[in-house]
Each structure stands twice: as C-alpha cells, then as structure tokens.
Amino acid sequence: MTHMDNVCRSKRAAEVDVSGLVLEDRVHTSLYSDPALFEAELDKVFNNTWVWVAHESEVPESGSYKTAHIGRQPVIVSRDRKGEIHVLLNRCRHRAATVCEGKRGKVKSFVCPYHGWGYALDGELRAVPKPEEYEGVFDKKDFPLVTVRHETYNGMIFATMKADMMPLADFLGGAKKWIDLFMKQSGGYPMKVLGDHRFRFPGNWKIQLENTTDAYHFPVVHKSFVSSLDEQTSKVFDFLDGDGFVEDLGNGHSVMVMIPALVDLDENLDAPIPDRFQEFAKELEREGRSEQEIRRLVRAVGGTGFNVNLFPNVACSMAFFRVLRPIAVEETEIHHVALGGEGAPAAFNQMRMRLHEHFQGPMGFGTPDDAEAWERVQKGSYAGLDEEWILINRGQQHLKTSQDGNVAGAVCSETGMRAAYRQYKAMMTAKA
C-alpha cells in the first residue's frame, strides 16, 4: 500500500458519516443506494476485516488454485509445492494485469499474459523476459505477488487486508461453536466443496446479508418450495411458531436456528428415517453400509437447521455456504456453495447435490424468489424523499439471554440484522 493509496482511500472514506443513518431499530434507505457509501464500505468494511475466500477442499493439492475477491480486489488462493496455502493479490507487480483467470484449477505457476512475468505458487517472482534490462533496476526477490494475510478455521479460509487485524479465532468468537456444528453434516467424512451456483441481482449487498438471518420471509417467499415438499418435510420447514431463535454472536455475526432438532447432527441417530430419505437409506443398505453408518449419513444428508451469518461476506446456511460479493452499489453477486463428504458414498453426495439444486441457484425453487424480493427492495428503496427508513425492529421487546449469555430473540426476530448493522456502524464510523 503506497502513501498515495492511503491518501486516496482516507479521502473517499471521509466523505460519508453513517452515524445518523444506522440506528438500533432502523437503517436509512440510502444505505442501499448511495455510491459514496459503497466506496466507503469497500475501504472500511471489506478491506478492514476477515473476508472468507475459500474452503480448504477447493485447493486440495499442490498446484491447486481458486480465484476469489476481497471486496472488489481479485485474489488467488493457491497451494504451493510444499502444501502450504497462500492468498495472493491477483495482480502482476509490473503493470497490474491479473495473472490468473478462471474459477479454480491446477497450474504449475502464474504467468502474466501481458509481458510474461512468471510467479511461483507461493507468489515468488521467478522469471522476467529480458532480465538484463532490469540489471541495477530491481531485484526479483523484492517483487513477488503481494501476499495477503490469511488464517483458517475448521477448513474455512479467511483473508484480511488489515495488517493488525485480530486473530481469526477471536473474530469468529461465539460463531466458532456453530461452525463446528455446521461441519458435522459431511457425514463423518472430510467436508468437501462439490460446486457452486453463481448469480447476480440488481441490489445492494446488505439486502442479501439481511436475508440470511430473516426467517420471517420464508413462508411467504418460499411458498412454492414448501409446496414441492412431501407433507412430513413441509412440516419441518414450518418453523416460525417453533422453538427456534436468533442469537447475536458478536462482531456482527449471528445464528438463526430454524429447526432446533437439526442443531447437532451427532444426536438423535436413532430417530426414525424421514420419508424423503427412505429411498436413500435403502440404497445405502444395498451397498452393504452398516446400520450405524446409514443412520449417520441419513441424519447428515439434509444439512443443519440453522444459518450462521458471518459478517461481512459468508454464511454457513443450513446445507451450503452463501458467499456474497459486492459488485457495485446496486449489484451483488451470490455464490451458493454445495457441500458434501470427501470419499463419502456416491449416493450421499448425489443426494446433497440434488437437494442443493432443488432450492438454490438461478433455476432452484427458492433462490429466484429470494432474488425477486431483493430486487424489489432495491427498486422500492428509491421511493420517498430523505425520510424513508428500513425497519429492523421486530422482536426488539422480546429479547432474552441465550445459554451462552448472548442476546437472543425469537426465530422470526430481526436480532441478526441488528447485530450485523451494529458491527457495520462500528466499522464505518471508526477513526482511521
């Protein structure tokens, strides 16, 4: 980061003040549409905290890479010859061209397409054409791809542009327990990314952030999904009057438990096999799987009953990772990452993918309706003069203290949104 960069960044960020725009029970509508705010968010939020970039299974062996973004910045997640993971800015040190395109794959090195500078998987600059012209100008060892600090928790790789950012484990804090519970759904096998659905909608990234902690919309927006389920399963998804809850986990994170019976997938292994997984259980039986393994796989295959919303860009959402990428003030890209078990029975991963396709993605039975609602929020938010607000006050007077000592509200409360916006406000108003 050069001095000039810092000057430009702080100048942009200084132009906005959100202190009067984010209140405990409401946020101002301009948060969805003010371009200056969006630029400030990239600096003060996305460049200033831990941002999820990959799951370890996406870079399984030496030479594996995945491209990702920290806010608007393109990065590469790579695994070098020694098996070490690196997060590197996807930018040639010469004239800034990206050195890696594509979603994921395997390479021996990263070569800039413009002038042929070649970098190793750990970012080291190995070769430049016409090296004699650089004699006395620079030393290659001083110009590797820029390394971004990263840390991993339970397979989830986060990176940060902030040099003195607190350790990842501290940042995740109360969310760690829920991430650990979430990871149980790989059925006793290592968690593995099976693919992802990617789509964009014309709306602000915070509309999506809110949605992952919004149970209130489910029976309305997802009526057609619920109608496509068998009777027993549709009852499971009828959770608004149940014992679920939303808990503020600190640092902007929250968990929304919709189906309490599906919190710990190691428990209740003796429960009857649900109707929708009968055929799946029979298939495992035909393969000669043990009763114990069948029970474990059946219990895990549908995922958990909760969403962990991690501020700012990722959620462990029932059975998948939801990743958001801010493109512009009114354009957001969403990835729904399907998960399964490495080495698990093919039938298990197939069932996981079919369930994912059923709800998620641009042709799923759920996502398109979500996207429609988000798009309508963005459009509607332009109505009115300067006095229009977005309400996040539901359940504010019915709060209790959770087992872990956190603030919690009913499953349909807006506790998770308030948690996210509290963190947002703290970051946006922090002195540089």
């Binding site: 693919g195 057609s224 109608s227 399907a338 197939q350 042709m363 039975f365």
Partner: protein, 157 residues
Amino acid sequence: MNELMNDVTAFIYKEADMLDFKEYQDWLNLWDADGIYVVPIDPEAEDFSNTLNYAYDKADMRKLRVNRLTSGEAVSTQTTPKTVRAPTRFRILSSDSDRVKVRCAQHISENRHGVLRTYPADVTYTLRRDGEDFRIVEKVVRLLNSDNHLSSIGYIL
C-alpha cells in the same frame, strides 16, 4: 436422413413452442418415463448425476418444476411473462432403430422487469422412437455462460 431430420426438427420445434406458450402438461407428456432434463454448470460435465447442475430433473422433479411455474405461488415466475426461443443449427449425431441423438443451438430471450436478456445454448437431445413420434430420454442444455454468474431463470430452458 432428410426424413429423419424433418421428423426430429418438427418434434423439437413443437417442444419449443409448448414451452414458450406454457403448455407444460403437454410438455411433460413428451418425456420418456426415465428421461432426464439437465442444465449443467460445468461446460465439460458428462457425469451429470455426480456433478452439481443448475437443474437435474427426473420425472418427479419435472412435474414439481411445472407445478411451481403454474401454481402462482412463486413470485419470480410471475415476472417473466414471456419467453421466445429459437432452436436452430440441427445436426443428427447418431441414430439407430431405437434412438436418435441430435444437437442444436437454441436462443431464448426473456423480458423480465423491462430488461431483455438472451440465453444462447447448445442443446443435445436423446430421443427414443415411439411409433411415428419420439419421447425425450435426455435433454442437456449447455448455456453459453453456464460457467459464469446468471440471473434468475423463472421458466424451463
């Protein structure tokens, strides 16, 4: 061969017309009972059941998809009132007394929220001969931008 090409293109034009004019029950009847409708993500994918797709529909899921499109319960399906699709560039890849495999190009345009979008795709059909007619055994829609981000698709490709 020309006769076969005529029969096949007539069948695929008919399917396209049914989908554009939302004659979904008739569309369901075009299918073989074991037929599979696939919209892959990975342009190279061949083993569809072991790959994540946008859609991987056997008979029961096709029926549920049609229910979703026609029930009026899904808000996203109400804002895509019309699609116009044009299959073209037909080529018969193989044929025997039982089956015909045919590939074509398909351009679908949609008008959603006043934005006109086009989804070009290569579509491969495996058709089973059924008397004078055909039944669809497999339909694979490979969107030109399948590997990229898409927008909501509230209809059948």
